[in-house]
Structure formats: structure tokens, C-alpha cells
Amino acid sequence: MQVIPFLICFPLLCAVLMYCIRADKVRNVIAYAGAVIIIAATALLVMQWMMGGRQPMELYVHTEMVNHLILAGDFLLMIVVTFLCFRYKKYLICLLSIAPTILIAYVELAGPELKEIAHVRVDYLSILMCVIVGLIGSLIVVYAVGYMDGYHKHHTEFQDRRYYFFMILFLFLGAMFGFVVSNSLLWLIFFWETTSVCSFLLIGYTRETEAINNSFRALWMNLLGGCALSVGVTLYIYSKGQDSLQELIRYGKYLDERHVIAFAVALIAFAALTKAAQMPFSTWLMGAMVAPTPSSALLHSATMVKAGIYILFRLGPAMSEKASGNMIALIGGFTFFAASVMAIAQHDGKKVLAFSTISNLGLMVACAGVGRAETIWAGIFLMIFHAISKSLLFQDIGATENATHSREIESMHGLLYRVPKLAIFMFIGIVGMFLAPFGMLISKWSALRAAVDESNILLVVFIVFGSATTSFYWTKWLGKIISPTHNAVHTNVEDITQKSETLSLTIHAVLMIALCVLFPVLSVNYVEPLLIEQFNHSAEVIPTAVLYTLIVIILLVFLVPFLADRAFKNRRTNVKLAYMNGINVGNNTGFIDSFGEPKQLWMSNYYFTKYIGQKKLMFPCQLFTLAVLIVMMARILGGVF
């Protein structure tokens, strides 16, 4: 079973190589090779786990050496953070790193004798996360090779530190693998903090003032979560004398809310909220956009935020029908709605994506908070769809920006006629995210039903209204891509997407389509066993036969007009100009104004910035969620002591 340490250490080795090799060509080749090897190793892990009858693999009971190494790693992270905090004069933030590190070191060295546990545990959920990290993460690395080349050709104002960028990318992947296979919470904390620090370093890549400020915001929010995590784990260790995540969930499930474990679970869930960028901590993910696009793709899809979701899915059974579960469901549901409303007011494509990530994560968090088999089913599918779709969309926006020099949605007017390839990828990404019959919808369906079963009226209302606003911002974006008018004038846009970018985009698009068609198979063969493992019972949310009929019929519905259109092709259609009140100029891009002059026609979407802009809504939403968090945490704490 050496493949797990390999998955954690190999990216580390790649990271060192990336840093040492300064010749671009050589480094690129090694990055490609690294990505391929990571995918292969992930596949090997999956194979080994399948050969073992898909039973949970519990490994590495005696790990004295590694424990010490990891403690040393904790200190190394602390030193890096402290150093950078002093260098940029953000002194207070380093306390958020020093305090938990010292706490953990104390617990490990002077705390109670820990029971012997398997430090690594690989089960269905871990395997799923490994596949997401391994596959999507590696593809993002492949994409980044091409993208960063174009990026530095454009942005000559930034110092070319690609060696550093790729180092962090690989480190990130390694940390994520470690995070999702760790059963020891002390190990988990280390990998948790590593991802926090990696994202901090990625966001600050350009070293602009804005980038540095945003990176420190991301740092303190995530370190705050790290503090909560450390305190929660410490409470657990002192109470039960062990640090197994699996046992914590078992205790959380069977002990009532007066036990200290309930508070430990709530603290860890709180930490996950910061990582999953839920309100009031969403601003760090918004700020993360200043970094080059591959890092956004990585933060939003395969790593970082998914770490928060992963831990919440794990804790789901322990939080179900408890105060902590209510807190998480409420925050998640509210974030789903509020972030989708704010997404409407954004006209920067990347910002829309960022808000939609926060919003979708909110739905996943709410699913985890409800903590029933049905909602975890829905949440898992949301996570899979979201990982692929967001990675695809971010990469596509990056490529579009390189080609058209803009990532404004308004400038994507008629993208389908200017950069068709990228527009089609964008279409697939968006449609896969929210249109029937695809997965997101089924997940929403299931989440809604579970919320009703739970009699969680607030969650029902949030899902219902959030669903309406979500459709709105996606659909208006889609409309922008297909409408041909004003930008048809300057059609001579050169598609400078490089081969590696196209490769990654294509694989994503194929995955997306395959997932849409095959998700009933995935549900039966993977997600339902996963639920049995977590809950001892599964949830047949929708009978598979029904799902299949639905998919087949809908595909037919799309096919019929397509064929009819082909058949009608030969029938003469008289193509005329659009209606301009009789004052056309000879094509569809303008009209004659009241002075008799030709005027260009310019059409833009609704944004309602005045009513629902980020500036107007973000602060009240943060205040509200902060109040909810404080009240609920106080309630849980009050119940315990």
C-alpha cells in the first residue's frame, strides 16, 4: 500500500523540482509528466481499493516518525506565516497561526496518551475526493502550463515567477491528497493548514498591493478556521483520548448534545465553513480572483473549498438533527440564496463564477447540515458536477480573456461567432451546471424534498428562491454568448488558446457530458454504497429506471428538432433584417437615429447593480450570518457546560 504516501510525497517532489528548474521548457515537460503520473497513481489507488472489495482500507497504525515529521511541518508552516506577516506588517495575523500550532504541539507532546488508531483511512468518500483532486487538479496543472505562458506575455508588469507558481500548485495537490485520506485529526490539521498557506501564497502571486491585501484576508479567515479546528480536536482528544476522525463521527452520532463532543463537532464544522467560503467568510474567495486563472480554477473546483465540503460531508451523520446541523444548514441555505442574488449584479465573468461557487457550496453545506442520506446523496452529486463545471468554466474564461482581452460578460456578446470553440465549452459548462435533465437539478430536487421532510422551513424558502435567482444569472449569460449583434463588427479575434489548454478543456467537456448521461450508473454503483458505508442505509432518491427513461426521452426531445432542422435546411428561408422601426442601416448592427445619423446598436443585460450590488448586500448579509453563528455557537456551548 505504498501508493498513498506516493500520492502525498510525489507532488512534493514535483514542487521541489518546479522550484529548482528555471528553464521553462524543461519545467513544463516535468509538469506534464507530474500531472500524468498523479493521474496514473490515483487510478492505481482506485484499482487497489476495488481489488480489496471496496472495503475501507485502514493503514499505518505505528507512525512515530511521521508524527514527528508532521509536527515539524506544523512549525514550518507557522514560521513561514509569521515571517510573511512581519514582512508585510500584518502582525496580528501571525497570532492565528502561532496559537493553534503551540496548542497542538502541547497536546501532542504533553497531552494524554493517544489510543492506537489507523492514521490513514481510505473509503468511498476519500476515493471520490482523490479522483477529483487527482484528475481535475492534474488537468488544471496541464492547463496552467499553456495559460501561464500566455499570461506572462500579456502581463509584462508582473515578475515571471512561474517556478514558484507551479511549486505551489503541486504542493496544493499533495496537501489535498493528505487531507482526504487522513483519519488522524492531528495529521488532518497539518494538511488543513498547508492548504490554507498554499492558497494564501497563490493569491499573492502577482505581489500587487491588492493581491497582497486579498491574500492576507484569505489567510486570516482560513487560519481562524484552523484555530477552531485545533480547539475542537483538542477538546476531543482530552475527552476521549484519541484522535480518530471516524470515532469522532461515531461519538457525535450517539452522544447527546450535552456532551463536550457536540461542541467539538460544532467547532470543526465552523472551521469547515471558513474553508468552504460560506458567509460571513465568503470575501476571501472573492478576493482570490486577483490571482492568475489556474489558481482560481484550483481553489474553486478541485481543492480548498472542496476540503471544507468534504469534512462537512464526513460530519453529516454527527450533525444530523442537532443544533450544529441546524446552524450549518441555516448558514448554507442563506449563503445559497444571498450569493446567487449578488451574482446577478456582477458583470465580470470571473466574479459571477466566484459568487456562483459560493452559492453552490452553500447548497452543499446545507445538504451536509441536514445530514440525512438523501441530502448527502444530493450534496455528493452537486460536488462532482460543480468540480468539473467550475474547473471547465474558469479555464475557459481564462482562455477567453487571453483571446479577447476581457472577461466582462458584456464583451462576450456573440462569443459563439467570434471564438466558437471556447463559447461551446462555456455553454457545456454552464448548461451542465443547471439545466434539466442534468445532475444539479436532480440534486436540487432531492435537497428540497429532504428539507421538507426535515420541516426546515427556512431552508425550503432559501432553496426555492435561490433556485430562481440561480437560473437568472446563468441564463442571461448564456443568452449573451449566442446573441449576434454589435460585436459582430470586430470579429477578427484570434483564438490563441494553446494545445495544452485545449486538451484540458476538451477532457473536461467530455467528462461533463459523460457525467450528465451516466450519473444514474454512478449513483447506483458508487454513491449509494458510499451512503451505506456512512449511514448503514442507502437512499433510493429517484428510482434508476425513472432516471434513465427521463434522460433517454430528453435526449430524444433534443434530437427531434435537430433532425427536423436538418430536414428543413433545403427549404428556402427568407432571411431578413431585424425589426428596427423601419430605420435599418443595412445590417443588424445599427439603426438611424433621430438626427438621421447611423448609430451602432448596443444591447446589454440587466444587472440591477443599484438594487443588489455586492457593495449594498454583502455587509448586511455578513452581519446576519455572523449573528447566527455567534448565537448558535453560544447555544451549543451553553448546552454542553
Binding site: V452, I457, S467, S471, K476, I482, P484, V546, Y579
Partner: protein, 290 residues
Amino acid sequence: MSIYMRVIFIICYVVLAPFLGGFLEGLDRKISARMQGRVGPPVLQPFYDVQKLLNKQVIAVSRAQTFLLMTYMLLMIFTGAMFFAGSDILMCFFILATAATFLYFAAMITSSPYSTIGAQRELIQMMAYEPAVLLTCVGFYLSAKTFNVSDIAASPLSHILYMPGFFFAFVFIMTIKMRKSPFDTATSHHMHQELVKGLTTEMGARNLAFFQIAEWYENIFLLGVVALFIINNNPWSILAAVLVILAVYFVEILIDNTSARFRWDQMLKITWLVTLLSAGVNLLILMLIS
């Protein structure tokens, strides 16, 4: 419900819905005309119109529009067929939303300013009515413990007894869905107003006929949902349902003829408020008693 019954229901819907829908629209025009002191067109006028449209020379701004509108129509038929086959009601409305997206595409692809603005208003309308629609589904689920239309229809008591608030909210958003004033911002039903004909501005000949037929299918589906509030396992309830449908349709015509168009923000605010107050409060009560 046996599989044969389901098939019969589907066939009935697919075959009869456009005739029923067209007939109702004919009545609509006639009654509206009488309200306005006109004689009005013959009741079968909508069919003459569609027949004429189908035989006209095809004139379009964009060739792709036919494909998009056909998909819209087929998805709409699919929605209704699923509903009348007794399938999952929430799923029906999800597919309806997908259908509406295709209508939006069909209007956006034309590059006409009138059509584009109409399409964007259509989107706002979708955002306005979707919460009420989804909440109605939730209401049925709470009241009947299932999303399956066939099971909902076979309950011992009419669901409207448990969900009057949902019924009110649903009828309220029907005004938007049936493109009636004051919520007809996307199409401006009355000719030659500020939007010319909204999102249908650039649809002509066969394409407009598709749009029209899809509207009929949609109306019958929506009225079917209204009937679902009334129908129970007593066969006489079907008669009651028909009466309620006619009453609802008449109220919609009355509203259409007595109100002036709202701005989009007024529409959104009022609709969401009604949804929250009427359906939301009903939801709260249902959850408390169950």
C-alpha cells in the same frame, strides 16, 4: 394508475391540448372583446391564425430560431405529457423551466432590440414566478406526502383544503405565465406598444405558429395543475375542477382587461411578496400541523 391509463392520458394530452388551448384562447378573445364593447373575432379565430402562419413563406432573422423554438415546443409537450401521465410534479416544472430557457434563446438569437429586451423581461418573469411554482410543489408534497401527480390526484380530500395559500399564489403567477396584463412585460399583448411584440417580435410564419401551439400546450398544463388542487378520488371532483378552471381563466381575463402593465421591479416585488405571504405562511402552517 396502470400503464395503459398513463399512455391514454399522454395521447389525450398530446392530441387534444392544442385544440382545447386554442378554443380557450378563442373564448378569451371573445370575452375580452365583449368586455371592451367590441364584437370580437369568431371563437375559432386562433386556429385560422395558426393555419395561416403555417402556410406562409418562412421569413426569419436567424435560421437557428426554428430549431430553438421547436425544442421549446417539444419540451413543453414533454412537460405536459409527464404531468398527465401522473409523473413527478417537481420534475415537470424543472423541465418547464428548461423549455422556457429555449424560448429565451430563440428571442436572443435574433439581434433585434425589441426581441432582446422582451427576452430579458421574460427572464425576470421566470425569476418572479419560479419560487411560487416550486413552493406549490412543496405544498403538494406536504399535503399528499408525495410528488407523484397520480397519487396526489387520488387523495380522499381535495388539496385546496390544506393549501389555499398555495392556490392563491399559483393563480397569481398564472397571470405571468399566461402573459396577461399587468404582468405581460415580455410580450406586450396589446399591439404596437413600447415593445412592439416583445420576445415574439422576430418570430414569423412557422416559427410563430410553433410558439403559439406551445403556449396552448402550456396553458393546458397550467390549468391541469389548477385542477390538481381540486381533484380527489371522488369522480364528481372532476366536474368541480372544470368549474374552477373556467373560473380561474375568467378571473385572468378580467384582470387582463382591467389593469395596466407593471414595471419589472414592481412585478418582482409584488410576486415575491405574495409568494412569501400566501404560500410561505401556508407552508409554515402545514409544517406545524404535520
